[in-house]
């Protein structure tokens, strides 16, 4: 009986430790990023090439820069679907992401002011977010006349 109890206790302890480690390993990190800067869009036929650079801050990576390149399809209306890749870099980490299909940008009547939304898959993260993965929601605005853009990222990442 004593031997059985010891075995059971050891097994329970092992399960508890394993569960704790697993829980710690998958504990979600609430990521929020907010950036603004300047973007350029160049249209060739129905393809819109997008380049964006800005500054802002992101959870755990700190204040830094964002860069991105992408492409949109202007044959689609009223909203233009787009995809692309980019990175958010700060003093304590980097997040490299890919905007996945489904993102779109909706313009005003004059085709000058756009509101966009979509999702970005985190391809790689470094520093304090090393090995973090997940999908972030992105939303923002783009003023074609001035080139000014704003973008917010939010979502849960897991290591």
């Amino acid at each position: 009986m004593k031997r059985l109890s010891l075995t059971t206790a050891v097994a329970l302890l092992a399960i508890t430790v394993a569960t704790a480690i697993a829980a710690a390993a998958t504990k979600p990190i609430a990521f929020v990023g907010s950036y603004k800067g300047t973007a350029t869009t160049t249209q060739t036929d129905n393809v819109i090439a997008i380049k964006a650079n800005g500054t802002g801050t992101g959870t755990l990576i700190g204040a830094g820069k964002i860069t991105g390149v992408g492409a949109g399809d202007s044959s689609q209306r009223p909203c233009i679907p787009f995809t692309g890749t980019g990175s958010m870099k700060g003093p304590t980490g980097t997040v490299i992401f890919k905007v996945i299909p489904g993102a779109s940008s909706c313009g005003d009547d004059a085709g000058q002011f756009f509101t966009f939304t979509g999702k970005a898959a985190v391809l790689k993260a470094t520093g304090k977010l090393l090995k973090a993965k997940g999908t972030l929601k992105l939303s923002g605005t783009y003023d074609r006349s001035s080139g000014a853009f704003t973008v917010k990222f939010k979502g849960a990442l897991v290591k």
Binding site: P78, C79, C106, D109, F113, T115, F116, K137, S139
Partner: protein
């Protein structure tokens, strides 16, 4: 009126305008960035329930509305309303009564009142406001979306709706409580495919011919956070016409520079063989935090 009373009234009026929607001078955003104590949504219709933003002098405008206490998320009904009325420039106020069966009112927009436009009323946009106060002393105001052709306009050449509005059965009463408060309307799009263009585009209407372009327009608030519904906080926003796959609503800016209006919209061409009669359009929003809000909106399709 004492100076103190006048000052208090002025402050109250200002506070009221700061609530549901603020269409003040440039650059006030529409809708307001956050909701006030009472959310109010209003529409104008004729006595058949056909929504319209254009009326001729001598005709009768039905104002209809609903309101939600943004703290309790409960609808304002007769028992918890202190006042509910419409202010019209240079006209007596129009008191709204709670009666979903009143001409022009609906289960969704149960508060209504009528205004007979004087024969000599000045032509142009009517900057009306709907004001309400609950018995809990919470106040709110509704102003029209500042898109010129969809605002209440008096004109001797006002377009007439193509028929009567939806019957009572096409409108369903909302739940007593809601996490999301929505304003919903529809306008005639300027790009019909199988029907003639109307003389004026983007006027409010809920009676459409086959081949016309229906444009649904929606704005609202997350009552928990108080924030305007936007791509920042909405996960999914859809509109479903009967017999048609759900369509995603698009969020974006409309109107002229310096007078931007932000709302959710989607255009839809009424198919040539679409069933005639009333149709209930289902509008559904889900926030990033999982809260939901719906609005069943009634249309009438005519040949």
């Amino acid at each position: 009126m004492s100076k103190f009373t006048a000052l208090a009234a002025g402050l109250a009026a200002f506070a009221a305008l700061s609530t549901s929607a603020f269409a003040g001078t440039d650059p006030a955003p529409f809708p307001a960035p956050s909701v006030g104590p009472l959310f109010i949504a209003g529409q104008t219709a004729n006595t058949s329930g056909a929504m319209s933003s254009w009326f001729a002098p001598g005709s009768t405008v039905v104002f209809r509305a609903y309101a939600v206490d943004t703290k309790t998320s409960k609808l304002i009904v007769a028992a918890n309303a202190k006042y509910f009325y419409v202010t019209i420039p240079n006209q007596p106020n129009v008191k709204l009564k709670y009666d979903p069966t009143a001409p022009g009112a609906t289960a969704r927009m149960p508060w209504s009142g009528t205004w007979k436009v004087p024969a000599n009323y000045t032509a142009g946009i009517v900057g009306f406001k709907i004001l309400a106060k609950s018995t809990a002393k919470r106040i709110g105001a509704f102003v029209q979306m500042p898109v010129a052709t969809s605002q209440l306009t008096i004109s001797s050449t006002a377009p007439v709706p193509f028929g009567n509005g939806p019957g009572a059965g096409a409108s369903t009463a909302p739940a007593d409580k809601t996490d999301i408060a929505l304003y919903v309307d529809s306008v005639n799009g300027t790009s019909p495919v199988g029907a003639a263009k109307r003389p004026i585009g983007c006027t409010q209407t809920n009676v459409f011919k086959r081949g016309e372009q229906v444009v649904m327009r929606i704005w609202g608030f997350d009552l928990k956070s108080g924030a305007t519904l936007s791509t920042d906080n909405i996960d999914t926003a859809t509109v479903t016409f009967p017999g048609v796959a759900a369509m995603n609503l698009n969020y974006g800016a409309h109107g002229a520079t310096g007078n931007k209006v932000f709302f959710w919209s989607v255009p839809w061409i009424v198919p040539a063989a679409y069933p005639l009669g009333d149709a209930t359009v289902h509008v559904a929003f889900t926030t990033d935090s999982g809260k939901t809000g719906t609005f069943d909106y009634a249309l009438t399709i005519v040949p």
